[in-house]
């Protein structure tokens, strides 16, 4: 892979001591000059180039490696921090000092230089410090080090250890990722390529993957997470990208907060598809693989929806619908279930009181025939217009303390005895409503129960995660005048200013402002 990338010999660096291990045979095979293997040959539009590709720059020149978080056969995953020193370089210092000197003579400045005069004490009414005097030192030369540095995730592969087709796959991931721009898809910042390595710098997700929180999830949490997954997938499918490896481990929480948004990661297996044309290459993970992949009859982007169905199933019940791992393929019964898409809802579902709406969602995602299986858009629609509103209603009813549904969620030590009382009421009322989920009638609480125990509805004590759903946000979040003002200003800016703002928001470490 040492081909047309560069003549630079910066390659030997702290990270990099693998050149000795590299078999020379591959070096030769790559030396043919395969343009595809060189990232910078791919070019791109302005939007695509927001994720910058840099040749012959070692990542360690720009970033400090803080921590290794994963190690694979081809390379490692690190957490890196942007070097503060990156902002300052010798030539720029000289240049800026010179230029700002001459700028002071330009009369166009709206404020005169008063660096010698007394500095005004700041009040909102006071004029700002003059730009030019501020600018002399404020060029990127010095930066306060007290500020938290920007952190990113860095995935690296050693191209010397890879076959050309593997490199191509890795480049494929980069090219797909830089086309995707969505709040629920991990963002690509920069790509570095040197003789021996490729590094991709992405957003860092600190919250761990879905498996880390699966134990504490209730149905509301699952609905909110599912909505985000399906929205991200709908966006991808809309742009003709198929992820092909959706699983719990590839869905990350962006932050450690409880209400953290989720991000789809690992596009290593993703692929561009043409609508209606089947893909053949079998890939993915055993437990989320759709029957058509297993049967090798060719598959479409709909196999992503299958995987979403499986992921939702696992989140809700913490059991696997079909296979758990590859070994289960040997099990004839399990294999047959998968091939025929026989979904069963075991006792876990009863115990956890999972709604029939959730089951319906799963059944529609786990249809054997990809043509009758939901599209991503249909799935989002269902989550937003059926599932989440249903859970909202259910919560409302449980807040009024009448139904047995959702009561388990309100369990807390402080209101246990209250709960007993209410359980009495609900068992009484549920005999009338025959316990069906869909037959909610107006709550008929005896007023004295409410009055004597607790004036507040008990469910309020547990915050609903439904507030984080987009379906809910549509009712709550509205464009504000400040947003509109900002947008109107932006629309009138020149191309350069727009480009700068775009670059700025793109390269911002967004996790710091969440």
């Amino acid at each position: 892979m040492g081909c047309n990338i560069s003549k630079s010999d910066r390659g030997t660096n702290t990270l990099n001591n693998t050149n000795n291990k590299a078999p020379p045979r591959r070096l030769k095979s790559a030396a043919g000059g395969d343009d595809e293997l060189n990232l910078s040959q791919h070019g791109g539009t302005q939007r695509q180039l927001l994720a910058r590709i840099r040749d012959n720059v070692e990542v360690t020149e720009v970033y400090d490696i803080i921590q290794t978080i994963g190690r694979g056969s081809m390379g490692e995953v690190y957490i890196v921090e942007k070097k503060p020193g990156q902002m300052s370089r010798e030539p720029s210092t000289r240049n800026l000092l010179n230029s700002s000197h001459s700028i002071q003579e330009v009369p166009a400045s709206p404020f005169p230089s008063n660096s010698n005069s007394n500095r005004p004490v700041f009040t909102p009414q006071a004029p700002p410090a003059p730009l030019e005097s501020a600018v002399v030192p404020s060029s990127p030369i010095t930066r306060s080090k007290s500020k938290k540095n920007r952190q990113y995730a860095c995935k690296t592969v050693n191209t010397l250890l890879m076959q050309p087709h593997e490199i191509r796959e890795f480049i494929n991931e980069v090219m797909i990722l830089r086309d995707l721009d969505h709040p629920n898809i991990v963002q690509l910042y920069e790509v570095f390529q040197s003789k021996r390595k490729i590094w991709i710098i992405t957003e860092v997700c600190r919250g761990g993957d879905l498996t880390s929180r699966i134990r504490q999830m209730n149905e509301e949490d699952v609905a909110v997470v599912t909505e985000q997954i399906v929205r991200a997938v709908a966006y991808m499918h809309f742009r003709n990208v198929c992820h092909r490896d959706i699983k719990l481990e590839n869905i990350m929480y962006a932050t450690k907060e409880d209400d953290s948004p989720i991000k789809l990661i690992d596009f290593g297996l993703s692929n561009r598809f043409t609508r209606g044309v089947k893909m053949l290459q079998a890939c993915g993970t055993a437990y989320t693989a759709a029957p058509e992949i297993l049967l090798k009859e060719g598959y479409t982007e709909k196999s992503d929806i299958w995987s979403i169905g499986v992921v939702t199933y696992v989140m809700l019940s913490q059991t696997y619908p079909f296979l758990k791992d590859l070994n289960d393929l040997e099990d004839a019964q399990k294999r047959e279930n998968l091939e025929n898409a026989k979904v069963t809802f075991g006792p876990e579902w009863e115990r956890r009181n999972i709604s029939s709406v959730a089951k319906e969602f799963i059944c529609m995602c786990l249809k054997k025939d990809p043509r009758t299986r939901w599209s991503a858009t249909a799935a989002v629609h269902f989550v937003q217009h059926t599932w989440i509103p249903f859970l909202e209603d259910q919560r409302k009813i449980s807040e009024e303390g009448i139904t047995d549904l959702g009561l388990t969620k309100c369990l807390s030590a402080s209101n246990l005895n209250l709960l007993e009382k209410i359980t009495d009421v609900t068992t009484a009322s549920s005999t009338q409503t025959s316990g069906s989920f869909d037959q909610f009638t107006k709550p008929t609480v005896t007023p004295d129960v409410k009055a004597e125990e607790n004036p507040k509805p008990i469910a309020r004590k547990v915050r609903s995660s439904l507030h984080n759903s987009v379906a809910y946000a549509r009712k709550r979040v509205k464009i504000k005048t400040a947003h509109l003002d900002s947008m109107s200003n932006f629309a009138l800016y020149g191309k350069f200013k727009k480009t700068i703002l775009m670059t700025m928001v793109y390269s911002m470490d967004k996790s710091r402002f969440v």
């Binding site: 302005q46 404020s138 010095t142 991200a232 858009t377 932006f490 191309k495 928001v505 402002f513």
Partner: protein
């Protein structure tokens, strides 16, 4: 050096005021939610129809007519694809969050000035634009900021472009009363000194 500290302080105190006096915070999560809720058909992008719909439901005294919204949309849709992506949207509303800070701008400058020359050249912009590059566009872009007319943009000119909007003056960042700014800008150096020290 001290000037720098002062300058940063101004921006900081300004953003501080901004975030306490109003309901806006630094929450990008909130912006992501706003973006997602405007995107009614869940395709992950905003179309002109969706923008119209969102502006209709806005609680405001003034309502924009269709043509204004279309113009607005075109202004935000920088690469003219007919879709506003997440980062287009973010760039357009970022000023309302007080996040156009020196720190973030320095980062953007360094990102555009790839090799640390200390200025942005036409070559840098060419790299930035990729296949969208054309010579006239780059000329125009440089002219936007190039006060010294030397064909490149240094950090000073860069900051001027960002903060020193002729239409709004410092009003946009410092929330100054407009009369004061116009007074300052209208006068010549010496007189302006007087007015600014008042």
């Amino acid at each position: 050096m001290q000037d720098l500290l002062y300058y940063d302080k101004y921006i900081l105190s300004y953003t501080h005021l901004f975030s306490t006096n109003s309901t806006y915070t630094y929450s990008l999560q909130e912006l992501a939610q706003l973006f997602s809720s405007i995107d009614i058909n869940n395709e992950g992008t905003i179309t002109v129809l969706e923008l119209k719909e969102a502006l209709k439901s806005m609680e405001a005294d003034k309502h924009l007519d269709e043509r204004t919204i279309e113009k607005l949309f075109k202004g935000i849709d920088v690469d003219q694809t007919g879709l506003i992506h997440w980062h287009d949207f973010l760039a357009a509303v970022i000023e309302s969050q007080g996040l156009v800070t020196m720190d973030n701008l320095a980062d953007a400058f360094n990102r555009i000035d790839t090799d640390g020359k200390g200025y942005i050249s036409k070559e840098d912009l060419k790299k930035l634009l990729g296949t969208d590059y054309n010579e006239k566009l780059v000329e125009k872009m440089i002219k936007e900021a190039d006060k010294k007319r030397n064909g490149q943009v240094n950090y000073d000119e860069f900051l001027r472009l960002m903060f020193d909007d002729p239409a709004k003056g410092y009003h946009s960042i410092f929330g100054l009363p407009k009369e004061l700014i116009q007074g300052v800008i209208g006068k010549k150096k010496k007189k302006a000194k007087v007015s600014s020290s008042m």
